[in-house]
């Protein structure tokens, strides 16, 4: 087994990369071993083990066996689209299948306005109306509408960021295939399903047929072991990995996350992890479903699902082993998610603003983490600090959930006492820049540290803006000092 010591600025850190086929693992094969209808002599191989991604493809394409590289037609379980790509996908659907065509299944399409909502941009508003018209015409079961832009709370159906809404509404289920017109659809892989982003044309095709032609990806396996240090979050883990393999290191591949660390992550942390696999070029991220998953889904869905697990003898393209106890808080420096750096080594970087939000870093637990750190310091932030909850539910949690160790204070109270901006209407917000009047959009060449997912030039608005990606802990610490700051400065 070949191992390589990774020489970097990280102290006593070791990643072993083994390009072996067999994997020793505690993961059990839950499905009964598949019997191939081919005689063993014709396959030339004894191995019939599949990774969980391959198994999902097999089931969805009604095959008993398949391998990476094969193009197969899969049955799609759920299709999601939002206000930016929905109108385009609907346009393709109508053009190709006819103005009177009906979607393949009105219960498997989820329409979620979330990107450009709280804006006076007329085209953006029109795009939500296009979703509405389609939802009415097709009797779409899940359309999370917003009509009163002035007060998001006046819209009982409105959710917010699609990937978080999908999870909170129980649309993410183990073993299924979920596709969406957004690159961060891969977030749902946290539930042990295959989830990936597609374009308008593919989505239009799925709307009409419920099928999609996909190539089976080979899998990269990431084994994360060790007890998570209390200054690290899942964001640090994925930044570590992307920095390791680069923004194209997982192109066309599945990224499977296992290990004791993963098993102890909450669902929201697993979502953060899977959310950014696309930043490594990954086709999908995936975490085996377990008691944590089932508990999360208990009160959210009544549909039955069947989890799958990688076989002991499944083949992997490569395996990475990471001892998380040796990691430190990280940032991705401008202008690439793989431009990894230690937070403590960037302490001279003066910030103009801090942004906490998005599908990556705007979930309830992300805000609780930020609040805990602010509470530990007791100080006020030194730069404008923007708080944008991902969904209505998250917003509610900010105002109702007591933060552990605070004596009953809520996140919103802690944010207010620390001098942060008050929490804003839930949506994708400034993560993706958006129309010019988007709250917290970077309209000047400033330096921002954010809990979001991409920092390419112009991502949050201004082309010369500089974005540092980091965890909610690092974001809170940095807000307190006005410089990029390692959260350990405040967490004991």
């Amino acid at each position: 087994m070949a191992t390589s010591s990774f020489i970097s600025s990280l102290p006593s850190f070791h990643i072993s990369i083994s390009k072996k086929k067999k994997v020793s693992t505690k993961i059990m094969a839950v499905m009964t071993p598949q019997t191939s209808n081919r005689k063993p002599s014709t396959t030339g191989s004894v191995k019939s083990g599949m990774t969980m991604t391959e198994k999902i493809f097999a089931r969805a394409s009604e095959r008993t066996q398949l391998s990476p590289g094969e193009n197969v037609w899969v049955n799609v379980d759920m299709l999601m689209t939002h206000d930016v790509c929905g109108p385009g996908a609907i346009g393709v659907f109508k053009k190709e299948f006819g103005d009177d065509a009906k979607v393949w299944d009105r219960e498997k399409v989820v329409l979620i306005p979330d990107h450009y909502i709280f804006t006076s941009d007329e085209r953006a508003n029109r795009n939500v109306a296009i979703l509405r018209d389609f939802a009415n015409e097709q009797n779409i079961k899940y359309f999370y509408d917003i009509t009163d832009r002035g007060d998001f709370k006046a819209n009982p159906d409105y959710k917010g960021v699609c990937h978080i809404a999908l999870a909170q509404e129980g649309h993410c289920r183990p073993g299924e295939i979920l596709v969406g017109t957004d690159s961060h659809t891969c977030t749902a892989g946290a539930f042990g399903q295959f989830a990936t982003g597609i374009g308008n044309t593919d989505a239009g095709f799925v709307l009409g047929t419920g099928k999609l032609l996909l190539k089976v990806p080979p899998t990269l396996r990431f084994v994360l072991d060790g007890e998570m240090p209390d200054y690290l979050l899942a964001k640090d883990l994925i930044l570590q990995i992307i920095g390791e393999i680069s923004v194209s290191g997982a192109t066309y591949k599945a990224m499977e996350f296992v290990g004791t660390t993963i098993e102890n992550l909450s669902m929201e942390e697993r979502m953060t992890l899977c959310n950014m696999v696309v930043e490594a070029g990954g086709k999908n991220g995936i975490v085996p479903a377990d008691a944590t998953t089932f508990k999360y889904l208990e009160d959210k869905t009544s549909l039955s699902y069947e989890p799958v697990y990688s076989d002991a003898q499944a083949g992997y393209l490569a395996e990475y082993r990471i001892d998380v106890t040796k990691l430190e808080p990280l940032v991705a420096k401008p202008h690439s998610p793989d431009n990894r750096g230690l937070a403590r080594e960037c302490k001279d970087v003066k910030l103009d603003r801090v942004y906490i939000g998005s599908c990556t870093g705007g979930k309830t637990e992300d805000f609780v983490a930020a609040a805990k750190l602010l509470l530990a310091s007791g100080d006020k932030v030194k730069v404008p600090t923007f708080i944008v909850p991902a969904t209505q539910k998250v917003w509610m949690d900010l105002y109702t959930l007591p933060v552990p160790g605070s004596g009953g204070k809520t996140c919103s109270q802690i944010f207010e006492q620390a001098g942060c901006d008050s929490p804003r209407s839930p949506s994708c917000g400034a993560c993706v820049g958006g129309p010019l009047d988007t709250y917290a959009r970077m309209n000047e060449p400033q330096i921002c540290l954010s809990t979001t997912n991409r920092n390419f030039p112009g991502r949050m608005g201004h082309k010369e803006g500089q974005i540092y990606l980091a965890s909610p802990y690092t974001a809170a610490a940095s807000a307190l000092t006005g410089f990029v700051t390692d959260p350990r400065e405040f967490l004991h």
């Binding site: 037609w73 593919d202 047929t209 958006g434 010369e464």
Partner: protein
């Protein structure tokens, strides 16, 4: 390493996984609509009538009338525009323009005017001049991981709407590649070497699709390209739906 799916065995791609990345998924033959193993469509005839809107600088090569070929006999000619690595979708079409819906013709046209407007100021020459809708560079030459970032289909659409016909990159992000083929907007071609280091914006180039070669007339050098394979006829037809209809897979 080139991968081509033979029409005789349309359901399986054999691909060798290189240390960098495996060859992109090309939309292969469809068998969802028929249950037979052999494709039930007739192979597309490789003829090319240059359409004014999309292929402004296409020279139609001699039409091959009955020969089944998996790549159309087409050449593209014109000035090239050179970009570097990791050109993400925000640089190709900044998010503020995503309110434009590609399936609406007037908004499609507007998208073209914003193609590559997100590139940093270090790119002195603009891909599309201010106030214009079309580019004078039908061919884009790029480094690694072109089109990374978002799944937005607006990216290949904006390039195609502006009049680009092909990108020659070292490698692509998968969603961008897939969207390019599905929409038929541009040919996502791959080079064997780092062509972006040897070409400059304004160089006059020709792409011979059938021969899979890029010729830089300004420098006099020639570069091998990876064959476009089965993705070629799909793009030539105008995307997966048009291809499926032409091939008789779905009713016209």
């Amino acid at each position: 390493m080139a991968t081509t799916a033979s029409l005789a065995n349309p359901n399986t791609f054999s691909s060798t996984i290189t240390h960098r990345q495996q060859p992109p998924a090309s939309i292969s033959t469809f068998n969802a609509f028929t249950s037979t193993k052999q494709p039930s469509f007739k192979t597309l005839i490789s003829h090319k009538t240059p359409t004014v809107i999309r292929h402004a600088s296409v020279i139609a090569a001699a039409a091959a009338s009955d020969s089944p070929s998996s790549a159309p006999a087409t050449s593209f000619h014109g000035e090239c525009y050179v970009v570097r690595d990791n050109i993400d979708t925000d640089q190709i079409i900044p998010a503020e323009y995503l309110t434009l819906v590609p399936s609406k013709p007037d908004e499609y046209k507007k998208l073209g005017s914003y193609a590559l407007v997100g590139l940093p100021e270090s790119y002195e020459t603009r891909f599309v001049e201010t106030g214009e809708y079309r580019t004078k560079y039908p061919i884009i030459i790029a480094g690694d991981n072109f089109g990374c970032g978002s799944s937005r289909e607006h990216a290949p659409v904006a390039l195609g709407a502006a009049g680009a016909v092909a990108v020659v990159a070292e490698s692509y992000a998968r969603i961008f590649f897939r969207n390019s083929v599905a929409t038929g907007e541009i040919y996502p071609l791959e080079s064997e070497v780092r062509v972006c280091d040897e070409c400059k914006t304004g160089d006059v180039v020709t792409i011979e699709l059938e021969k899979s070669v890029l010729i830089n007339h300004t420098t006099g050098k020639q570069y091998a390209l990876k064959p476009i394979g089965d993705a070629g006829p799909v793009i030539e037809a105008g995307g997966i739906f048009a291809y499926a209809r032409k091939a008789g897979m779905i009713p016209a």
